[in-house]
């Protein structure tokens, strides 16, 4: 599977996917941390992908999303936005409402990390 297809699968299959620098345990950038924090506070399940291991991940992600910056948050396959939007929606209470609508109010708040990698031929 191509790298782009792997990224697309994560976006489409995971309830809440976030592409960050670093990991949820050790974010490598303040903006990734801000978005993670807002998702956690809103009670979101989180599936994180670290974009740092390979610059190609960011290239392919941005080609798919048409969004230039990291982090990027997707809810049920749809781009929610970056750190600013995620924080803003959390602060207004809209993030929790969106998650309730998309995933139900009794959602399990699991945090996991998945990795994507270009296949070498």
């Amino acid at each position: 599977m191509t790298l782009r297809d792997q990224i697309k699968n994560v976006i489409d299959d995971e309830p809440v996917a976030i592409f960050i620098k670093g990991t949820p345990e050790r974010p490598a950038c303040g903006n990734s941390m801000r978005a993670l924090q807002a998702l956690r506070n809103a009670g979101a399940p989180i599936t994180a992908v670290d974009i740092l291991p390979d610059p190609q991940i960011r290239q392919e992600l941005t080609a798919l999303s048409d969004w230039p910056t990291i982090p990027q948050v997707f809810v049920k396959g749809e781009l929610l936005g970056g750190a600013d939007i995620t924080e803003e929606l959390f602060a207004s209470g809209e993030l929790a409402r969106k998650l309730d609508d998309a995933l139900g109010e009794e959602r399990e708040q699991v945090v996991k990390t998945v990795s994507v990698a270009a296949t070498t031929t």
């Binding site: 230039p68 910056t69 939007i85």
Partner: protein, 76 residues
């Protein structure tokens, strides 16, 4: 990337808007831009931020903006 260049790009993209640009770190590459524009009326936050990102596509792509924070405000 001078603040003025970013301001010019945003003012060109949002001709009737109100644009504010702050250099967050003094290092000339971490910026917080605030744009108030009637263009945003009826658009979702993602769509609003997309318009701002698009206006700054070149400096974002060439790395002269290392970090960008965006605040958008709709107005009449």
């Amino acid at each position: 990337m001078a603040i003025e260049t970013i301001r010019t790009l945003l003012e060109r993209a949002f001709p009737n808007g109100e644009v504010d640009v702050v250099d967050r770190t003094g290092g000339d590459d971490h910026f917080h831009v605030t744009v108030a524009s009637c263009t945003f009326a009826g658009l979702s936050l993602v769509e609003q931020h997309r318009l701002v990102n698009r206006a700054l596509a070149d400096p974002l792509a060439d790395g002269s903006i290392h970090e960008l924070r965006i605040t958008t405000k709709g107005r009449e």
